[in-house]
Amino acid sequence: MMMLVTGGAGFLGRRVVRELVREGCRVRCFLRPSTRIDDLRECVGTRDWHAVETFRGDLQDPDDCRRAVAGADIVFHVAAGLSGGAAVLFANTVMPTRQLVAACETEGVKRFVHVSSLGVYGAGSLRRHALLDESCPVDPHPHLRDPYTYSKIVQEQVCREAFERGRLPLVVIRPGVIYGPGRGLLSNRIGLTLGGTLVRFGSRRPLPYVYVDHCATAIRQAGLTPGIEGETFNVLDDHLPTAREVLAACRRAGRPVRSLWLPESAIGPLSSLYERYSRWSEGQLPAVLTRYRSDAMWKPLKFSNARARERLRWAPHLSFEETAQLSLA
């Protein structure tokens, strides 16, 4: 089978490529002209490299998309912008997705696996400690979220609209925070880094984390498992660490993190205060922290990977001790 993987040289993408190659698939990687492939080649290994084909092009170019999709059975759409302002993120995430989806609609593919994000949920409307699973609605006010999440929500909408038109055999994967070698264990789900100090909001809530290899195998399964078109899967580790466990793991690995603890109950009022100040000062400090965003990011919730485990016949194979060690080596 011929697979097309976008973003195939990235942190997650190259592991998806490796998993597919190990499964005996041929993989075409859609890469930008400037993308370096050293890490991808190392990840796949020289023995299996013959199964990988690179396609250089522009995901915003309909012709490039059509040529890349031609002959592909399954498309894994992993590429997305991770940083920049809203316009840049939309240009790197939403606009390319439109072109790719359009190409898949014309060419006809057997499956389109879209890598979305757990951040797309409107977690703000949930009660504290409620269960966030696939039945929760997507955020109804995406423009109030941070620009990255906003772009991921609209990106998923683009795919879903094509599915609803009946023209895209879509499966959506929503990974939590992906960690692994090179990325470490810290993330803004723990708190905010201010001047080299991690200000963590509470320490005991489970963090929606997934180890990068676990995530890659789930994505592979989303492509290969029959009969799951139209379904969505939250992809998370079995054991979700707390901030306290993450910091302890860092300490054990000889990489202590300077951090400052703030009670979880302080997040809401602090965000409101900051938001008000930002408005009063007409943006002297930009409104990066708002009540709406902090509710979505730091409210204590329960998470579940039950549906992915059951429907994708997938399970995380490493314990948190092991993945933490690998990530911090």
């Binding site: 302002g85 316009a87 240009a91 439109r98 423009h143």
Partner: protein, 391 residues
């Protein structure tokens, strides 16, 4: 059909081009009481949509002509890619709108002239985004020079640090098809307006002597560094554009009796020369004077911070405010049309000189002759030209 605003209502402003710099326009115009943004437009529906949603703007369009016809704005802010400015601004002027055009105003001086002629014909004003001239720090420079602190200005050094690892720089560097790479002056065409007009503010000659040279850093396949020498009748200037240094915007203004340094990122102006006393005392007095000046600046910035007055794009707000005032009152615009043409012409000459010195280089924009570019620019209809652009 909606009417244009009356003199007591806020001006109706529309924005075309919802890329990276659009946010700065929308944020700063929101701070101006005498104007309100009524519509945004971008050929890419997603870009128009995200800007409208985040800034709470009701109307969004993908076709500039349709927006102009339906919304009848008083002013249009044009924040599209540089090569589309001329065509888009013509469209807006033809619809009887005043235009604020991001830098560089147009790709060539003849284009700038034709645009300003059209504005005059339609009785409309045009402004170019030389916003740093209205930054609080720059206004202080002007003020101190007007008070005679430097004597007569004789030389200006203007530096722009532009690492290619930055958001926009990385995008341009990684994509040979990026529109910036295809401008006549390549990367420099989109960036040197700012350091250049900080020189031409004092170097008033119509046609200064120009020497310019660009270089390509190892590992890149397009010119990345630029040095320009300008010599006028009484004032000279040097412009340095470097991708090898940290991001910074620094200007030094040398006068007959003193020197000022203006650092726009810190919004700081400081006196750096000459020594206030002879011999050994100078080594003590100079740092003492600088310490006192730094303390004064710190107190002032603290006061501004407490009042919520520190904004990166303060110059943009101030320039728009003055432009809108000129529209309302019929006063002279903040940047005279002749100045817009002069700066554009100096840019043309800089690129032509650098291109000639580097005739052997074979890369996107620079390999084209100026005349070829004029032909391309003439051909570009707004929609077709904008479609090529990403952000």
């Amino acid at each position: 059909m909606p009417e244009r605003s009356t003199s007591s209502e806020p001006l109706k402003v529309a924005l075309i081009g919802c890329g990276q710099i659009a946010d700065a326009h929308l944020q700063q115009i929101a701070r101006i009481r005498s104007a309100r943004v009524i519509a945004v437009c971008d050929l890419h529906a997603d870009l128009a949509e995200q800007a409208a949603a985040r800034f709470g703007i009701a109307a969004r369009y993908n076709d500039p002509a349709e927006m102009l016809a339906r919304e009848r704005p008083d002013v249009v802010q044009i924040a599209t890619p540089a090569h589309t400015h001329h065509a888009v601004a013509r469209l807006c002027l033809a619809a009887d709108c005043h235009v604020y055009v991001e830098k560089p105003f147009t790709l060539t001086a003849p284009e700038a002239e034709s645009l300003l002629d059209l504005a005059a014909e339609r009785g409309r004003l045009a402004c170019v985004g030389h916003d740093q001239l209205f930054d609080p720090a720059w206004l202080e420079v002007r003020d101190r020079i007007a008070r005679g602190e430097l004597g007569e200005v004789r030389h200006v050094e203007s530096t722009l640090g532009y690492p290619l690892s930055g958001q926009f720089g990385a995008l341009v560097a990684s994509d040979p098809r990026h529109w910036v790479r295809r401008l006549p002056g390549g990367l420099f065409h989109n960036t040197i307006s700012h350091p250049l007009y900080r020189i031409t503010e004092f170097l008033k000659d119509d046609r200064p002597q120009i020497d310019a040279r660009w270089r390509t850093r190892p590992g890149f396949n397009f010119p990345t560094e630029l040095r320009v020498d300008l010599q006028g009748a009484s004032v000279s200037g040097t412009l340095t554009f470097a991708t090898t240094i940290a991001s910074q915007r620094i200007t030094r203004i040398y006068g007959t009796t003193g020197t000022l340094e203006c650092e726009l990122d810190g919004q700081i102006v400081r006196r750096i020369g000459p020594a206030p006393a002879p011999g050994a005392f100078a080594k003590l007095l100079t740092p003492w004077r600088q310490r006192r000046e730094a303390a004064r600046t710190f107190r002032r910035q603290l006061g501004r911070f407490a009042r919520g007055k520190i904004h990166y794009f303060a110059g943009l707000k101030s320039l728009c405010e003055r432009f809108y005032d000129a529209i309302r009152t019929g006063a002279a615009p903040p940047i005279p049309p002749a100045e817009i043409v002069r700066v554009t012409r100096i840019m043309d000459e800089i690129f032509e000189t650098a291109r000639q010195r580097d005739a052997s280089t074979n890369w996107g924009g620079a390999e084209r002759r100026g005349s070829e570019w004029k032909a391309i620019a003439r051909d570009s209809r707004p929609a077709a030209a904008m479609r090529e652009s990403l952000t």
